[in-house]
Structure formats: C-alpha cells, structure tokens
C-alpha cells in the first residue's frame, strides 16, 4: 500500500487532488481511498488531505501518519508546516518550487529520499491564469510515482472539471515534462 499525504492551503484544491488520485487509481482497477483532514474549512489555512492506493482492498480508518509520498501544493508551506513529519526515509517528496536541490533538502530537514520538483505556480498562472496548482502538481505526482496512468487521471479530471478540464490537463502535461527528479 502506498500512503500519500497532501499539503495545501484551504481553497487550493488539496482535497480535490487526493480525490482525483483515488478516482484515477480505482478506474484503472486498483483500490484506493481519499479523504480530507476533517474539520471546518478555512480559506488560506494550511490543510492536509490523504490518499491510499493498493492492489488489494484497503481496510483502514485512520489518518496517515507515516506517508510514503508527500505532495506539497504551495511553495511557502515547507517554511510554516513540518511537511516531512513521519515521511518514510525511502519515501518521495513532491514539491512546488523553483529552488535548486540543496536548498530543497535543507527545507526538508535534510530528507535523503527522492525529491520531485516543479514550478507549478508558474505553470498554473500561464496555463490557467490562476495560481491554483492542484492539477499541475498531479503531473509531478504522475512523473515521480507512476502510480496512476496519464489516461486514468485525464479521465478523472474530465469527469470532475467538464469544460475546464482541457486547460488543467494541459498544465498537468507540462508539469510531467518539467518535473525534475533528484
């Protein structure tokens, strides 16, 4: 089972990203869960969302404390939230940033595992006209983890966003190309 913790700010679509991951995984025949961190929703406040993917049925009703993957939608979050908390040393950190690797490692408290990084804010502004990075970051997620297929995630986005899907898919595809893996 792969456990994913998403970090964002209220309104950035972290919960939607988690759901899209689960929907895509389930549509390609896997088992998955997605859920928000439960509570009042406050715009701008740091929020978490969670997803699990497995080849077998998932049986769990608890938060994710030791994620295999963290997906951080907002470049300012690592400074205010301990995003690497519980992250497995063998895990993957997927970040929205334009910083070089050494600085990222420093931000991640010298995390030694795999880092995937993309300047999602720039892509989102250019492609969507808004700094909403959730779908763009899914491109980085695809490239870094390979857990869901591009086809499955495209379907999930189309079902969710209707006529706005095209732009979001374009942003996602750009992110796949531009994500750097360290």
């Amino acid at each position: 089972m792969v456990e994913i913790r998403l970090h964002g700010r209220g309104g950035q679509g972290a919960v939607t990203s988690a759901e899209l991951i689960a929907v895509a995984a389930i549509s390609q025949g896997d088992y998955a869960q997605a859920f928000p961190s439960f509570g009042p929703e406050r715009r701008g406040a740091p929020v978490q969302a969670f997803a699990r993917i497995d080849k077998n049925p998932i049986r769990s009703r608890e938060k994710i404390y030791e994620p295999d993957v963290i997906l951080v939608l907002d470049p300012t979050l690592p400074k205010i939230v301990n995003i690497t908390q519980g992250l497995k040393p063998s895990g993957i950190a997927i970040l929205n940033s334009n910083l070089p690797e050494p600085e990222l490692r420093k931000l991640l408290h010298n995390f030694q595992g795999k880092i995937a990084v993309v300047d999602a804010t720039k892509i989102a502004i250019e492609e969507l006209g808004l700094p909403i990075t959730n779908t763009t970051m899914l491109g980085a997620f695809l490239k870094a983890t390979g857990l869901v297929s591009l086809e499955a995630i495209e379907q999930a986005i189309t079902a969710r966003f209707g006529r706005l899907a095209e732009k979001n898919i374009k942003a996602l595809k750009r992110a796949i190309d531009e994500t750097k893996i360290y």
């Binding site: 689960a22 869960q33 859920f35």
Partner: protein
C-alpha cells in the same frame, strides 16, 4: 464483474437511497450528514429522482414529515447527526410506536457540549431504547448495502431502521463501491405495499391514546415485533447474499476461531482493530475481533456464539454513558454474558470520542492491556482510553 465506482461514501449512500425509489425525503442539513441530503436534493432537482423533497425548518419537522408520509404508505428517507438527532428525539419514538417503515442514515457524530462535529457514537446511543432497528456499517460498500437491506427489513417488519455510518472517517472517504443492478434491486425491493395506511377511501385511526388498560399491550406488541424482526433481517441478508455473494451477519467475527482475547466493537473502527489483529497474529498472539453489525434487536445468541472460548473480552465503546456501570455496548455485553454459563472477563474501554483517531497501533496496545487482564482483574468497571492525565 460488477463495476466499482470511486465515490465519496455519502454520495454512494444517497445514490443507493435513490435506487430504492424513495417517494419522500425530508431532512435538515447538519454536518457530517450534509453531503447525503444535498446530493439527494440535487437528484430530485435535476429530475433524476422522482421523489418529493420536503425542506423543513428542523429535524423534528423532518421526522414528522417522514412519519406523515410513511403513514400514507410512502417510502421515506431522512438523515441526520448528533444535535439533529436530539432535536428529532420525540418523534423517533412515534415512528417506531406507530410501526412506520422509515429509513434513516444516521451519520454518527459527537453530541455537544463541548461543540464537536467529529465522530463517535454518543448520538445513536441516546436513541438506543427508541424501538428502531440499528445496523452499523464498517465501510462504504456496507453503507450502500445496508441501505438496501434497511428498506427491505423496514417494510417487512413495519419498523423504522437506522443505518449508522461513522461521520467523516467513513462518510467523507472516497473509496470503491459497487451498486446493485437496478433490475435485481427492484426484485429484492418490490414497491411498498402497506396493509394499513391513511387512505380517505378506507379510514383508520393511527396514533390513538393508549390508556393504562391498553398501553402495556401496545408496548408488548411493539417489543415482540422488534424481536421478531431478527428472523426477517437474517432472511433479508440471505436473499442479498444470493444476489451478490456478500454475506452479512448480526455479529461478524475476525480470527475468532482460536482467539484467547478479543475486542468487541461496532462501526468502522473495527477495520483498524482487524489490522491490529494481523500485526499480533504475525507474532503468534491469539487475538480476534467481534463486530456487532446488528445493534437492535441485540443478537444475544449470535454474540455468545461469536465470542467462542475467549478468556477476556475488551469492549471498545464509542460513547460515555454518564453515571452508568460501563459504556453502552459494555453494559449490553455484560448483560448478555449473564445469560451464559461461560463468562469471560470484560474490560470496557471508551475510545475514539469526537473523532480522536484510534489507530491500529492503539488497538495493539488495547490488546496488550486486554492480555494483562488474563492474570489481573480490571480494577474499574470501565475506563476512558487514551485520556491525558
């Protein structure tokens, strides 16, 4: 193979209700039940569900509307949580006393004060004695299936049924669910035909006064009906198993065959308890879980059979029964054991109040605590697990 849909459990529940072709929905929105009734309102509004959606000013009115509608022979649905259930309280007894087959999705949430929107079972326990049939779901698939069963059972027993779904930790999770094929469901759940109903062409009186000379008889009849519902429930589950292969039992077990100690629990946290069993079984510990699916009528015989030869039971309650001798499930279990000659020790913990996570590691610790009672009697009738001293 039946298609799996990725659905938030609340949405899946609403779609199952719509599949059951309800005639009347009346509800008042309250967290964490909201997504269920919002989705139903949307289905009605979009013309996808031919039902009357009655928006009301309170939960008391919601249940009252369901009572009125059900009395005319309509298939009804409502849903609520915590404070909403309490505001509905008076009418809960009327629904059961008048033998109306209303179905409610009770999205379990803590009762205030302090204000809490998170999950535990303090809401449902307050209606323990209200004469409703109660199912508890552990996952999204069960939540969907139990809605189908609820209508089948309610309409055969003429009793209201509550399907308990843990708030947030179950209701707000996106996970795979399958729906029963509509044709099969239509056969499983034929259109509602009620013998006695409010009909101007054939007038009857319902809700008449029960003077002392008859109230006792009326209550006895109601109590017998609730007890008799047991067989109808088993049949409904057997019929469902034939259709889907999915098996439901009043009390379900996990690794109980040779278990020395076991956890007794209701609702979705059973999943974490089962994960703890896997961890401990890998180390050779003989542990198991007893999951109560049917809370009312309480299936004493099934329960006594399910616990096998355990030496200690740890009942994990999700609500405090203030001033009582245990949590509500703990009390029930002790009472059931009194009817048996073999009485394992009972450790009664109250855990997971107001959405506090009870993780598999917590359950491992709970099992370890339970093992300690093999040699040492618990010093208190119950305790609140994980409370910060």
């Amino acid at each position: 193979m039946t298609k799996k849909f990725a659905k938030e459990v609340s949405i899946a529940v609403a779609e199952a209700v719509a599949q059951c072709k309800v005639d009347v929905i009346s509800a008042y929105p309250i967290t964490p039940q909201t997504h269920i009734v919002e989705h139903l309102a949307e289905l009605v509004n979009n013309g996808e569900l031919d039902a009357e959606y009655i928006p009301v000013e309170s939960e008391h009115a919601a249940m009252s509307a369901c009572i009125g509608a059900a009395a005319t022979g309509a298939r009804t649905f409502t849903s609520t949580s915590a404070q909403g259930l309490l505001l509905m309280y008076e009418t809960l007894f009327i629904a059961s006393g008048m033998r109306l087959p209303i179905v409610m999705a009770l999205v379990n949430r803590s009762v205030s004060a302090p204000i809490s929107i998170w999950n535990d079972h303090s809401d449902v326990m307050s209606m323990r004695d209200a004469g409703w049939i109660h199912f508890f779901a552990e996952n999204g698939q069960q939540a969907v299936d139990l809605i189908y069963h609820a209508y089948k059972v309610a309409e055969k027993t003429l009793l209201p049924v509550a399907v308990n779904i843990d708030g947030f930790i179950l209701s707000h999770v996106v996970e795979p669910v399958t729906f029963l094929d509509q044709n099969l469901l239509d056969k499983y759940l034929p259109p509602l035909k009620i013998k006695y109903k409010l009909d101007p062409k054939n007038p009857i009186t319902i809700g008449a006064i029960g003077v002392p000379e008859i109230y006792t008889e009326a209550k006895k009849a109601q109590d017998e009906a609730l007890k008799a519902s047991y067989k109808i429930i088993l049949q409904a589950w057997k019929d469902f198993e034939k259709l889907t292969g999915r098996k439901y039992l009043p009390v379900e077990t996990y690794q109980m065959e040779d278990a020395e100690v076991a956890i007794v629990i209701m609702g979705s946290l059973a999943e974490n308890a089962m994960n703890a069993v896997d961890i401990l079984r890998a180390k050779g510990k003989k542990v198991g879980v007893v999951r109560i699916r049917l809370w009312r009528p309480f299936p004493t015989k099934d329960f006594l059979k399910a616990i096998g030869k355990v030496k200690t039971l740890c009942v994990v309650d999700r609500a405090v029964s203030h001033g009582a001798t245990g949590g509500p499930v703990g009390i029930e279990v002790r009472s059931a054991l009194y009817q048996s000659n073999k009485r394992p020790r009972v450790l009664n913990l109250i855990a997971g109040l107001s959405g506090r996570d009870v993780t598999k590691e917590d359950f491992v610790e709970i099992f370890e605590k339970t093992f300690e009672t093999l040699t040492k009697k618990p010093t208190t009738p119950y305790e609140i697990y994980g409370v910060k001293e």
